[in-house]
Symmetry: C2
Subunit: 302 residues, 2 copies
Amino acid sequence: MDILAVGSVAFDSVETPFGKAEEVLGGSAAYFSASASYFADVGIVAVVGEDFPDEHIGTLKGRGIDTRGLKKVKGKTFRWRGRYDYDLNQAHTLETQMNVFSDFKPMIPEDYREAPFVFLANIDPELQMEVLTQVRKPRLVACDTMNFWIEGKPGFLRKLLKKVELLVINEAEVRELAGEPGLVKAAKKVLEYGPKTLIVKRGEYGAVMFNGRSIFSAPAYPLEDIFDPTGAGDSFAGGLIGYLANTNDLSDGNIRKAIIFGSVMASFNVEAFSLRRLISLTADDIESRYGEFKRLTHFEDI
Amino acid sequence: MDILAVGSVAFDSVETPFGKAEEVLGGSAAYFSASASYFADVGIVAVVGEDFPDEHIGTLKGRGIDTRGLKKVKGKTFRWRGRYDYDLNQAHTLETQMNVFSDFKPMIPEDYREAPFVFLANIDPELQMEVLTQVRKPRLVACDTMNFWIEGKPGFLRKLLKKVELLVINEAEVRELAGEPGLVKAAKKVLEYGPKTLIVKRGEYGAVMFNGRSIFSAPAYPLEDIFDPTGAGDSFAGGLIGYLANTNDLSDGNIRKAIIFGSVMASFNVEAFSLRRLISLTADDIESRYGEFKRLTHFEDI
């Protein structure tokens, strides 16, 4: 196993200007794993309820994902209901039912513990820390978080960040975490908290990487139809960590390529509800969109 | 003369989180010309009042700008007062005094009329059209506009766009002009109105070019301190058109480079109030920041 992914698996109900979906497969760990599965072997750790159909587990297995860490327990699966208006960068949460997720204590199966790459999706930083006590010397620990934890558990989060190499969060979260409105200054401050690399997700404006030595700016793919942005950030992280695990190269240059593969995967994900597009890609689809990213950004020698 | 620039010359009073400036030299034609002057010979057409000091005309002349088309008339100079909060993408207009600008009728001096490049800064589309009746077969006509004209003079604007090769406007204006929330679709529609190339300004998120055959996405330069965003769009247009006039090459590849030079000039401009930074650059400053843009976007072979 190359990558251990810990996060949520959920039922999402989503409404966008282009349609709606009811109780479809979602959750940060599901999006991440499906995306990363094109590049590396992924094991997932999450919890679902008795209402979670085997068919969904089959979908993940179909992508070669190791689901032995996906526990089914008494109760109902985590549910999220949200709406996007024309500003697709902004999710409006209508309802969150934690259900079985509120008692989630990640137990990492024995043979997941050697995974060299660990992705801690956006969950309680205490639980993210708990995962790190169970794993053995991973080469790279990456994590995501959100305003809820930045405000609610700042102490735990700061402790966690000391153990994280790669932080992947939204632009507003960087500013909030640093208490600094300017992105460049905020990024500098966040790098002092521990991570060697900070990748800032900017939705339809792409992503920026800071590592204290260089800055890399990647655009988002200009899609005609962004059908549903749910899971874009986790698909991005999946392509990113997946490519890093595949190449086992953490140089500045390779992280840049990994960010583009992350952007490629996010761009596919938003073309459909749930994991529909993310589970039906070919290696050619991915390579060809990577090529389009080159043409999208190239301004010398064309 | 390589470029004819028609627009405003004004007194700006600006407040940002980093300081304030009172009645300093500003206006779209001033920012554009100062920026373009590093690349090509520019002639400016605008109007000022009796209160406009010769010192400011000297500043423009000091950059080699031909100011014979800058008319001084009875009355007061156009004044704009604005404020920026921490979201520096958003200007809050506090006061606009049109003064002599309300009777502005652009009269293009005889030896400006042969200029191969024409930039129509954001003024009334009727006046922009009026300029085009006076010039002789320019190689490229570029223009800017704003929501005020999109809403107030849609008919004149659409007529103008038939005669414009290069449209340089903000993202929200593209959506409004096309009546379409998705940027890619909106851009397609705007290209049907006439322009061969549309360049969308996105403030601190950079710029995107659409020409019906390819899309190019350029980041903004990640500055630690954005001191004052006033004039960023016109400085961008100045570097862009300046480079195109300098190279006289309108190929896709060269327009991409020109967009980067525009981004370079905008990044310098926002480092200080008024034209202060924009008039004190060296060729080395510009080349070196261009190099930084390459490093900022490069993800293959580094």
